[in-house]
Amino acid sequence: MTSLQSAIRGTRPLTGRGGERRPGPVLFLILLWLSLVVAFSVLVTLIITIVLEGMPQFTTRLFTEYPASSPDEAGARPAILGSIWVIITTAVMTVPLGVAAAVHLEEFADHRNWFNRLIELNVQNLAAVPSIVYGLLALAFLSLLGVRDKSIVIGGALALSLLILPVVIIATREALRSVPMEIRHGSLALGATPLQTTWRQTLPSAVPGIATGTILALSRALGEAAPLLVLGALVFVSFDPNGLLSGYTTLPIQIFGWTGRPQAGFHELAAATSVLLLGVLLAMNAVAILIRNRFQKRW
């Protein structure tokens, strides 16, 4: 897809540059650049203000201590551990399911079948359902099961899992689609069954694309707070979460909690935790982009 686009771009003719120097077109180009500059300068301002505000509290205490009533003793240890628990559980639940669904839709499903078309339309729709609605869904589901305490790791992971499932499916389908047909035909011609072809040829070829999409989806889940808020994850957690049924809080929820406190010290803590979260997310994004650029094969 991108290679095609850049190929088109490379052969682009120099479209009428003659009139480019008049004030109108120059102003237009300035406005275009301005829109990017505004966006980036807000991003830079955001990062600078958060780093400046969070600096005093960005110490090892943030990683080792539990929340406390005084901002100078409080840390985000349970939130860090909670985020790790929730995100790993989410990944374990989502990735196999999402990849399997995508493989079915892309490799085996008959697109003229109404059921498969319904699924496709549905995935598109699910991708744009507000995240907080997934929180309500998980809340209703847990109530139905009779779970009293809804702020448990598996509940949060369930909500986030459903939230990013469509993202994983869409990304995996894109990755499978970019594997050329010749690979499949070659495998089939050698006598492999369609399933063997998928498992030994198509899927391995699509792994970089799937990995990129999955990492981006997981980074979205890691930064998400709304569904967990609905599930009551905003609690004063002063222990290490230790299992799927354990209570927990996560980094975004902890930031939200500290933001709502009146003391300035807690706002510094919120900023410091934001720096930590942003750092992790940027690292994940960087890894995803790296994989996309380095490992994606050009056929």
């Binding site: 479209t15 009428g16 829109s35 839709l105 809340l139 930064g223 707070a225 009551g232 979260l277 940027l282």
Partner: protein, 318 residues
């Protein structure tokens, strides 16, 4: 395959040849099982949707058994927790409308500007640098945006620098920051739409003596219009459903917002805030969450349907 076996021993074939091997392969019951599993995995997405609908509908029915639908949709006082309770959802809807409109005022021009620059002006190398940078904006967690809106945009920019008469919260600050958040959504989809416009149209325009601005504004932009509208519609959907920024920075007083410097509570803001209090399953308070959630879901569903339809149209145009 059948044609090969049918001709076995027919005229022209040497009867001395060994029988051709069966090309059917052996039966693989395991494979059928795996394919069934794959089908089930895909089916789970449908189950999720049904789950959402049922999960929202059942408590909502409980809600509407006590509160008439017309009172809910057209009442202008939202006070679900007061003794003298009232369930008019309009205050939540107007606050949502304000934050959505403000965010679009920011995101549409900036997003389209970025898209045009990337699609029509930038070289392949420049695009490779700028696009991931733009995507970082989408990667910032919304709770961090909310913190930024409250601590910097509201407290420092609006109150200190601009000296605006506003309190600790405002829909303006929330909307502005939400607009920044939506820029990548609008930029990336409308860039796809503009890149899909065939090169021949640009060449034709250039051949007639148009410069790049004229080509962009009068040829590429109209040709990509349905895709661009789809991008904007998706932006609307994201703005309506965004929770953390409004929960943090817009305030939580459910009043009819008439001035963007006021604070207000959006639909999502209400759900987030109400969830903080522990509401018992089956209580009216619990049901209220789901009624608002259902309204939110319906609004975004309609918006998404429009967007999907528009994307289909622009994809098939060429």
């Amino acid at each position: 395959m059948t044609s090969i076996t049918a001709r076995k021993g027919g005229p022209g074939l040497d009867p001395g040849l060994p029988a051709s091997p069966s090309l059917r392969g052996r039966r693989r019951p395991g494979e059928a099982l795996v394919r069934l599993a794959l089908r089930v995995a895909a089916g789970i997405t449908v189950v999720t949707t049904l789950g959402i609908v049922v999960a929202l509908l059942v408590p909502s029915l409980g809600f509407f058994a006590e509160v008439p639908l017309t009172d809910f949709l057209f009442g202008d006082r939202w006070a679900p927790r007061f003794a003298d309770s009232s369930f008019g959802v309009l205050p939540l809807v107007t606050a949502t409308l304000w934050t959505t409109v403000i965010s679009l005022v920011v995101a549409v021009p900036l997003g389209l500007g970025a898209a045009i620059l990337l699609s029509e002006y930038a070289s392949a190398r420049l695009r490779k640098v700028l696009k991931p940078l733009l995507e970082i904006l989408a990667g910032v967690p919304t709770v961090v945006y909310g913190f930024f809106a409250l601590q910097f945009v509201q407290a420092t920019v609006l109150r200190e620098w601009l000296q605006l008469p506003t309190g600790a919260f405002s829909v303006l600050a929330a909307g502005l920051v939400m607009g920044i958040m939506i820029i990548p959504t609008i930029a990336s989809i409308s860039e796809d739409a503009m890149s899909a416009v065939p090169q021949a149209l640009r060449q034709g325009s250039a051949a007639l003596g148009a410069n790049r601005m004229q080509t962009t504004v009068r040829v590429v932009f109209p040709a990509a219009l349905s895709g661009i509208i789809a991008a904007v519609v998706l932006g609307v959907s994201r703005a309506v459903g965004e929770t953390m920024i409004v929960a943090i920075a817009a305030g939580n007083q459910a009043v009819m917002v008439s001035d963007p410097l006021q604070q207000g509570q959006t639909m999502t803001g209400f759900i987030a805030n109400a969830a903080l209090g522990d509401s018992r399953v089956g209580s009216l308070e619990y049901d209220t969450l789901f009624a608002v959630g259902l309204l939110l879901f319906c609004i975004t569903l309609v918006i998404n349907a429009i967007s999907i339809a528009l994307v289909r149209r622009f994809r098939e145009a060429y």
